[in-house]
């Protein structure tokens, strides 16, 4: 029995000396650097894109934008615009002077020494708008938040104005305008403060926060011939700072397939956990990565009762 105890003690001692997580060096499936193009465009706006390069996963930081890149946009195979490099406090990007026209397929081309021609094509989709949003003041409620602020809950219905398209790719954004001060006119107004929303659980699971200031609606939401989206717009305000919500802004976007698929996949990848199967990101850039995609948008401003 004594020997048995010695053996068990030795085994336990050995066990305590172990590490279960450790750094190892593996042969990564590495591929050569490629050009990355990221940009979105909409009607009557200029083309603006970021051009960078991919880098190995283990490499820290971000590579600088290649200054020598030549970026052009073609329309129906003909050169439409040459984009010029802009350096701003928000970063480096390439911008056109010409404006985007609706329902036209544009191809962006990026030329950079040592890299193959990189291109991507998309168009501003035909806009499917929503019916005017009505607010019933009787249904608006206010509630207290734990931090002392209050919150306006405004039930709204977003209803498609036209028939459901074959590719029902939509996104929305809620913002609010807030008057500050008890005087008339107020001291100043905060415009487009980011708002929030609440929906039923079955709807929430089909709404995705993406790396744009819009909420993307999963195409499967419309699979049962639904044409309406019911939600409560939540507008927090601080009475102590004399804030008063005055209007709710509803932005409604119709997305190109490239916009929808890319942003949905990026959002999903961002939520991946260890042990889960990682999500691959959609890519419409030939010989490179990223996304170049169009969207159309409208905006409604709904006055709120004082």
């Amino acid at each position: 029995m004594r020997r048995l105890l010695i053996i068990i003690s030795l085994l336990l001692f050995g066990l305590l000396a172990l590490q279960c997580a450790r750094e190892v060096i593996i042969e990564l499936p590495e591929e050569p650097s490629k050009i990355v193009v990221v940009g979105k465009f909409t009607t009557n706006d200029t083309f603006r894109v970021r051009v960078t390069l991919t880098q190995p996963v283990y490499q820290p930081g971000e590579l600088e934008a290649p200054a020598s890149a030549v970026v052009t946009v073609a329309k129906e195979g003909e050169l439409y615009a040459k984009l010029s490099r802009k350096v701003t406090s928000a970063g480096v990007f390439w911008q056109s002077r010409k404006l985007v026209e609706p329902n036209v397929a544009y191809t962006i081309n990026v030329q950079l020494g040592g890299y193959p021609l990189t291109s991507a094509t998309s168009a501003v989709p035909k806009h499917v708008d929503i019916e005017p949003v009505n607010v019933d003041s009787d249904n608006i409620t206010t509630e207290n938040l734990a931090d002392g602020r209050r919150q306006l809950r405004v039930p709204i219905v977003l209803q498609l104005a036209g028939p459901l398209p074959a590719d029902p790719y939509f996104a929305f954004n809620l913002t609010s305008n807030i008057d500050v001060g008890n005087q008339d006119p107020p001291d100043f107004q905060i415009e487009d403060r980011q708002g929030y929303f609440a929906v039923a659980g079955s709807t929430l699971s089909l709404l995705h926060n993406i790396t744009e200031n819009v909420v993307l609606i999963n195409e499967k939401y419309w699979s049962d011939d639904r044409r309406t989206l019911h939600l409560d717009a939540l507008i927090p305000f601080d009475p102590a700072l004399e804030e008063h919500p005055v209007s709710l802004n509803v932005e409604w976007r119709t997305l190109s397939p490239e916009f929808y698929r890319y942003h949905l996949s990026v959002a999903r990848q961002g939520s991946n956990l260890p042990l889960s199967e990682p999500d691959a990101v959609f890519n419409n850039v030939q010989n490179g990565y990223g996304n170049f995609s169009g969207y159309s948008a409208t905006r409604q401003v709904i006055e709120l009762p004082r």
Partner: protein, 889 residues
């Protein structure tokens, strides 16, 4: 030329047919004399001898033909000899022919039904899979079914019946078959089996196994294999079979021939088990001391098994000793168990109770310290699992028996965490508590009834429920320098998912003839689901949800689904000619969920030939369908992965499998080579791991139908098993060469990719060496190709001009395009077993993963490390001691 040969053949054939057909006629046409014969009170044999002498006609017979005949008195005048012979022999079941002026007697072929039960001589427990065979070249045989019942036809004669079963001493039973009989056969456990030396007196044919499906395990198979902590484990034992794979160190569930884990029909006393594992797959829920018999079908399973698409693991528990009280206690490094059994009314009612609990806390804390994936913050994590089995067995009459079995087992995990910090804004306290409970509840009430000598029925009422519940609470409080407490966050949620079944089932087994056994039956199951209900409470201190309905005003989802599943089957086991066996069946099912109805009628077929010299060949074809699905996207089998029914948007899964094999067994050796091809249609996965996470408890499961992808898969492989089952050294080599893939339109751009549990090579070598009569050693070495994994190769930063939102985007290889390093491991143990008085002791001592191979369980690229190829690799089980002490009295 050809026509001439044909004519010759036809002529020859005609002569043969005419000769055979007319031979009785020719025999009957022989003229016999007319005789006068008288005999007073003569035994028939004496009368025949006397008649032979008197008539001069030779009469050939066996004395035994007339053993039981009373003396006869004959007074015949001028009667045909044939008539006189008939009168003398009328008392016996004989017939005679006149051949070459001789009268030759034959015994009339008469068969009687021998039926009954085979049971353990000591405990009275019924034994599954015992075989009965008539010796001395006589025809007839039978095998005991899953309730120990057998029925077979044997010729009227003095028989010697040999009864064999693995783990029991073979028994030769002399028997006179002169009427239908019902017997209870008692076999004694053969504790010396591994030492058996092959001699002419003990031919190795005694230990012949049925090659191919099903694989059979007995409880003693679990006794000596080294397993983590010394805990005997059925699922780990199952994973030692060819074609059965798991994730690393057993995590991830069983994957049989490239099938999903949810495609295994795991039955505990005929009741489906939805979650067969504890501790995410490290241990199985089956208390090994309560197991009686286990059968595994990897493919061509009979039509009586339905509802799952890939395999069947049929686990039967023991019935309890009808004669004596016994108990068995076991202490290992991770868990302890106690089993007690005995008669409540001797020979009439028995019980079996088994409890098992774990003391896993120190290990969880140890793993937490080691930075394992199972790391829990605060090192205060607490994990336990427990099992409770009870079984009552009531012998109502020789033809009726009732069983009541119940299982309750579960897992509990708790991870509390509190962190305090101080700053210029005040003292911040953050409290976090996660509690999770999950488990199974299973009950069955069964009634066995022998309707007729060759017709057996079993009726079962079943209940099976699997649940997962988690409570999560988070509170953050700031006490300002002025002493004013501010609640910054107060969040609580309650999440639940469950599946619960009520069902009724009746099965009939008819032993129609000694060549054919028929089975048929029907069942109905009512499924109830709650696929991920979530109740959340924000910012309302003191109102943490403890149930789904407690704060319905913030309930996010409380969907209840119901579905009905009806099934009927017909199975035939047919032996058309010696050595050939056909198992053919049809399984029909109807499934209704809401307004959607699915139905299927699926064939099962298996042809087996068992040759003279130990050779066997077999071929199987089967199609299955599955109406229930467990969908997940993780690489381990997590308890909160949802069980959901087929609906209008989610069709049933379908599998087709074709297999063929070749085997040989002789003198304690057997080897089998089997190939298979399997096509899986309509397999499911979440469109995104994010969706799986949502259903996993972070969010509710609403809209789950819209978040899954439906695809297809295929699997093919070659399995080689070489076993030595007799002698002082026994063991096996099990090798599988396989490939399993999946394809979903929405995943990997629609391209086919390797199944996440695909392993090209899988090898398991086991050796059991008897050292002394009280000591033996076991060695297990396993090797497998690393599991496929998806890894990122390059990355870029996503940020659109004018936006302040950015995110690192990783560009992955093909889905599952990278292989983890190969898995291999050596386990060793010494097993000592001895008896002192009435106590039997057994000690197992050894090590799991002896050479401490750091088998990668999970690996991710160390993003931003600056070192090329740097990755963080997690290992689950390092070298672990194996220790178990068992005492039986």
């Amino acid at each position: 030329m050809f026509s001439l040969q044909l004519a010759t053949w036809v002529k020859a054939l005609s002569i043969i047919i005419l000769t055979v057909a007319c031979s009785p006629l020719i025999a009957q046409q022989t003229t016999l004399p007319v005789v006068d014969f008288a005999c007073q009170h003569c035994p028939p044999a004496d009368a025949l001898v006397q008649l032979s002498r008197q008539s001069g006609i030779n009469i050939v017979f066996n004395d035994r033909f007339f053993n039981r005949c009373p003396p006869v008195t004959i007074a015949a005048r001028q009667e045909a000899l044939q008539t006189v012979v008939e009168r003398i022999s009328a008392c016996a079941r004989v017939s005679f022919k006149v051949i070459d002026n001789q009268i030759i007697f034959f015994r009339k072929t008469q068969k009687y039904v021998l039926s009954g039960y085979v049971q353990d001589a000591e405990s009275g427990e019924r034994l599954i899979g015992a075989t009965l065979r008539a010796l001395d070249g006589k025809e007839g045989g039978a095998a005991s079914n899953e309730f120990g019942f057998f029925s077979g036809r044997f010729e009227e004669d003095e028989l010697r019946l040999r009864i064999t079963m693995v783990g029991y001493q073979p028994q030769i039973l002399p028997l006179t078959m002169d009427a239908d009989r019902m017997l209870t056969i008692r076999l004694r456990a053969d504790l010396t089996l591994p030492e058996v030396i092959i001699t002419p007196e003990r031919p190795d044919s005694l230990y012949h196994r049925t090659l191919g499906s099903p694989g059979n395990f007995q409880p003693h198979d679990l006794r000596s294999t080294p397993m983590p902590g010394g805990e005997k484990d059925l699922l780990r034992q199952t994973a030692l079979q060819t074609g059965v794979q798991t994730g690393v160190d057993g995590l991830g569930g069983l994957h049989v021939r490239g099938g999903n884990a949810d495609q295994n029909l795991i039955l505990l006393d005929d009741v489906p088990v939805y979650n067969p594992s504890h501790a995410l797959g490290l241990f199985s829920i089956f208390n090994p001391n309560t197991i009686s018999n286990v059968r595994l079908w990897k493919g061509d399973f009979p039509a009586r098994y339905g509802g799952r698409a890939s395999s069947v693991l049929d686990v039967r528990t023991r019935e309890g000793n009808l004669r004596q009280f016994h108990a068995n206690g076991s202490v290992g490094l991770f868990a302890a168990s106690l089993t007690a059994e005995g008669p409540i009314v001797p020979e009439k009612v028995s019980f079996l109770i088994g409890v098992r609990g774990t003391y896993f806390d120190p290990w969880v804390k140890f793993f937490s310290k080691k930075g394992n994936l199972l790391t829990f913050s605060g090192q205060q994590a607490n994990y336990q699992f427990y099992d409770f089995n009870v079984k009552l067995n009531y012998v109502v009459s020789p033809k009726d028996r009732l069983y009541l079995s119940y299982y309750y087992g579960g897992d509990k995990f708790e991870n509390p965490f509190e962190q305090k910090s101080a700053g210029p804004e005040g003292a911040l306290t953050e409290e976090y508590r996660l509690q999770s409970d999950w488990g199974n509840q299973i009950a069955a009430l069964r009634w066995n009834h022998v309707l007729r000598k060759n017709l057996f029925t079993n009726t079962t009422l079943r209940y099976s429920r699997f649940f997962y519940e988690s409570r999560l609470a988070f509170a953050s409080t700031l006490v300002t320098p002025s002493g004013r407490p501010l609640i910054l966050a107060d969040y609580a949620q309650f999440y639940r998912t469950y599946i619960g079944d009520w069902s009724g089932k009746t099965d009939f087994t008819a032993f129609a003839s000694d060549r054919m056994t028929l089975r048929w039956g029907a069942s109905f199951t009512q499924h109830n689901f709650q696929p991920g209900a979530l109740s959340v409470n924000f910012l309302q201190p003191g109102r943490s949800p403890n149930s789904i309905d407690s704060i319905a005003n913030v309930l996010l989802n409380n969907q209840h689904l119901a579905a009905g599943e009806a099934e009927a089957y017909f199975d035939a086991e047919f032996k058309p000619i010696p050595h050939w066996r056909i198992d053919a069946g049809l399984n029909g099912s109807v499934f209704q969920a809401g307004r959607v109805t699915y139905h299927a009628l699926l064939p099962r077929f298996r042809l087996q030939h068992d040759g003279e010299r130990g050779w066997s060949q077999w071929f199987g074809y089967h199609r299955t369908t599955q109406y229930l699905h467990q969908i997940g996207s993780f690489n381990v089998s997590l308890p909160f992965e949802l069980w959901v029914p087929s609906t209008g948007k989610v069709p049933p899964e379908q599998v087709l499998q074709v297999s063929a094999g070749l085997g040989w067994q002789r003198r304690g050796w057997n080897w089998q080579l089997e190939g298979y091809y399997k096509s899986l249609d309509r397999v499911l996965t979440f469109l995104s791991a994010t969706d799986a996470l949502y259903t996993g408890g972070a969010e509710d499961a609403s809209g789950w139908e819209d978040r899954i992808a439906i695809g297809r898969g295929s699997a093919q492989g070659l399995e080689l098993l070489i076993e030595k089952t007799l002698g002082g050294t026994t063991g096996s080599v099990a090798y599988t060469l396989s490939k399993a893939t999946r394809q979903f339109e929405e995943v990997n751009s629609g391209r086919t990719f390797p199944f996440r549990f695909d392993r090209r090579h899988d090898l398991k070598v086991t050796v059991h060496q008897r050292i002394f009569s009280w000591l033996d050693a076991d060695v297990l070495w396993s090797f497998a190709t690393g599991n496929p994994i998806t890894l990122a190769g390059v990355k870029y930063v996503h940020r659109t001009p004018g936006s302040d939102l950015e995110r690192d985007v990783y560009v992955y290889t093909e889905v599952n395009g990278y292989r983890l390093p190969n898995y291999h491991r050596l386990d060793m143990a010494l097993n000592a077993h001895f008896k002192r008085g009435r106590l039997e002791h057994a000690i197992q001592l050894g090590a799991y993963n002896v050479y401490n191979r750091a088998n990668p369980f999970y690996l991710y690229v160390n993003a931003g490390s600056g070192v090329k190829g740097s990755a963080i690799q997690f290992t689950l089980l390092p070298v672990l001691p194996v220790f178990r002490y068992e005492i039986k009295w």
